[in-house]
Symmetry: C2
Subunit: 333 residues, 2 copies
Amino acid sequence: MEKQTITIYDVAREAAVSMATVSRVVNGNPNVKPATRKKVLEVIDRLDYRPNAVARGLASKKSTTVGVIIPDVSNVYFSSLARGIDDVATMYKYNIILANSDGNSQKELQVLNTLLAKQVDGIIYMGNKISDELRLQFDRSKTPIILAGSVDSKNELGSVHIDYVAAVEEAVADLIVHGNKKVAFISGPLDEAINSKYRLKGYKNALAKNNLKYDEELVFETDYSYRAGEILWPAIVSAGATAAIVGDDELAAGVMNGALDAGVKVPTDFEVVTSNNSKITEIVRPKLSSITQPLYDIGAVSMRFLTKLMNKEDVTEKVVELPYGFIKRSSTK
Amino acid sequence: MEKQTITIYDVAREAAVSMATVSRVVNGNPNVKPATRKKVLEVIDRLDYRPNAVARGLASKKSTTVGVIIPDVSNVYFSSLARGIDDVATMYKYNIILANSDGNSQKELQVLNTLLAKQVDGIIYMGNKISDELRLQFDRSKTPIILAGSVDSKNELGSVHIDYVAAVEEAVADLIVHGNKKVAFISGPLDEAINSKYRLKGYKNALAKNNLKYDEELVFETDYSYRAGEILWPAIVSAGATAAIVGDDELAAGVMNGALDAGVKVPTDFEVVTSNNSKITEIVRPKLSSITQPLYDIGAVSMRFLTKLMNKEDVTEKVVELPYGFIKRSSTK
DNA sequence: ATAAGTCTATGAAACGCTTGCAAAGTATGT
DNA sequence: ACATACTTTGCAAGCGTTTCATAGACTTAT
């Protein structure tokens, strides 16, 4: 009637060895005579024995599980990272506990707590606003933590991402080369380091290098939704922008459709560049030119990085920067 | 140096009670004098004690974790379900272990095994092709299982989804009413019950009720990608179809863009209806008319259903059908 | 005052596995 | 044949909780 009745004891008895020996063969410990190993494996097979991972975890103090704190799985950007994470995790025999946080500090703390209670061996955090309290808990915990596709404004935590400053700078420079004097900078909340400290900086760099002066009127702070982009259009028009660099694909699609629906021609009269090169960029018309980030790889590398920390291997660099790129499609000249 | 050193034993000592008592206050067992409870809680707070979920799991034979087998998290359809699942799971104090299967039977079996090894209290399965071997394992396991947004061709397992037959039938009937004599049926693999046994049936029903004869030439079996849709266009043209019902949004976007890129006017010369009403339907131009499914809710309800099974509550119906709808946008007349 | 209940709290046995240590077995060299 | 050095095994002590059987301490009814 119960979940799992066959224990290591049963196997030991049937194979006429001690449970220690069974444990050794299950764990691939080499100190077992081949004949014994074979005998044990046969019994395991016959009894359909499956080691109880919970008991194992208790005894070994390892759960072979890592926690993943994600703002929202249903967002393509994050779910792409998650896919990379899971694939590598599987490769290294780990499972992932996925927990949505909505980027909400309270939930993050709460989630972190239950993850630690579950004795995860490591944590991957996605999110761009690390509250002081969360940082405190991160520091206090002995569990390895990696930020995936997210930046740590204080550079204390291990993280994997691209060089946002340079990427945005290039993209904006390109728009300027096309003759745009007024390029709008459209992003999510500026209290997220990725927007204020990195993307905006790249934007300013580009302006400076091209002798254009920074105009706050051209900076639009909103949230990451498609709808937010659509309704932003009138404001963009009144600011007189002729092009925009957008920090999120859905947002960019919204902005572009907002323009299109208002009868503006893209890219002839208005150019748009977005940042994440998610599927959406290819589905909209015109297709969106975009900074490209290896999303899957960022997740995969983060997880790989984490396995190193979990094995207490030495890692030379705390911050891994993956190469970014730029793909020109039809939303720019 | 280690993960977590404060145990229930430390708390018991500090509070001068037995560990059994500490356990009771932690678990909200009422048989504790309020004064004692208060004292214990204070110590817990002071020591920053956090119960070890693994040890708890071993002792109680409950992991408060459910496994989620998903074809691909980075697919919006599935990640939307996943989001609903996680939210409800959190509500009921469960965590989810997310495992990608790519819809591959081998991986599914393998994943199922590790989930069971981890002693998950329940499993939510997404996928439309349950291999015999997998079904066998499902049956053999005493762990409750629910299919989310997926159908069980044999109707043995609990599941939550919409009435695909009726939904497709309505959508196709609508296309026929618009005067289309040749409506293409475009779906993913026909060896998936959802396509062959349900959607296709709805399609045939609609034809029959409108005195149109079924023509195999108009049935297109492909995979679920955007690209697959794009390259399918020529074939659709040669079959002479003037409208299509598509089983997946990305696929539909591909078909439509394929038409558009070939200079065909949508919906004037060709109408398209899709099936999942994901974000994509609103992002493309023209926006896609779609059958609507409450994706988030399907996930949420599945998880709720699962909690009932895990609590051994009686459930009257094994199959929960959620209401579907239809939203007319600009890809149909 | 006594029997019979309630409440509270304790002790100690699981739960199923890993692992350090020691014992038993084998092989090798002389 | 014997000492030496491995190689294989078994023993038993945890790992941190839950939970069952009990025991004390109070109440309450008689």
